[in-house]
Symmetry: C2
Subunit: 146 residues, 2 copies
């Protein structure tokens, strides 16, 4: 039935539905790729931010990922229990703590990133390279309006 709906389905002119559908495909592929590394998409994303040089607080991470701060606390707790991240005091703001990946967290991230990137390349292979770049630009402007 999908092939019929693809050409004549009732929601196919609806950008919100198409965003949700494409995101669901992407999440399913990423979850499958991350499973063998013991991560889910949300914990992987938090780990990726902890690996970056941004020194983000839990509040920054919540805003960036559009999650509730309490969800981020639970995700960071889990990663910290597993020895993958630590909470370090921010020299500029004693009340804030930055979430920083440990060496073990960096190693796991490197492996998980390779798996996720391979899954993403596979998913995006239906689009030409220049179309992939256009898609990224449009999504960036939609997801982070000025």
């Amino acid at each position: 039935m999908t092939s019929d709906l693809r050409t004549g389905g009732p929601l196919l002119n609806d950008t919100a539905f198409l965003l949700a559908r494409a995101n669901a495909q992407s999440l399913a592929a990423a979850h499958a790729a991350l499973a063998e590394h013991g991560l889910r998409v949300r914990s992987y994303t938090v780990l990726a931010l902890a690996v970056s040089e941004e020194r983000l607080s839990q509040r920054d991470i919540a805003e960036y990922l559009r999650l509730d701060p309490s969800q981020v606390v639970a995700l960071v707790d889990d990663l910290q229990t597993r020895g993958l991240v630590t909470r370090e005091p921010d020299p500029n703001d004693r009340r804030a703590k930055a979430v920083i990946a440990t060496p073990a967290g960096r190693r796991l991230h490197t492996q998980a990133e390779a798996a996720v990137n391979a899954a993403e390349r596979d998913l995006l292979s239906v689009l030409a390279a220049d179309e992939q770049a256009v898609l990224r630009d449009l999504l960036l402007r939609l997801g982070f309006p000025a």
Copy 2:
């Protein structure tokens, strides 16, 4: 901090992250628009499919929305309890039942659709009309690979 991350964030070259972020913006806008009509995004989407001429079964709906069939059963149960849809036997397959909107369901859908469309227009207004069309085409091909 968002403005810094917009230009230099660690995940901004990652299409999967950008899809998730744009989808989160879209879902938040749709949920806000639907709340006054007593619907959430998932129940609204099921109702929209029930309004269409497709005569979809619960299994069709689950595949189209990438939900677990048990989730669709719960959503249809809720809409049926509220008198918004019925389950009608399929003349071509006695075991299958099509999910069909009632007159009350059609009326609610018309109102909710107007609210959702206004929210979507607002969200998409950061893109030009031709860019919006390109985005729909790219998402369609990503969400429904041939």
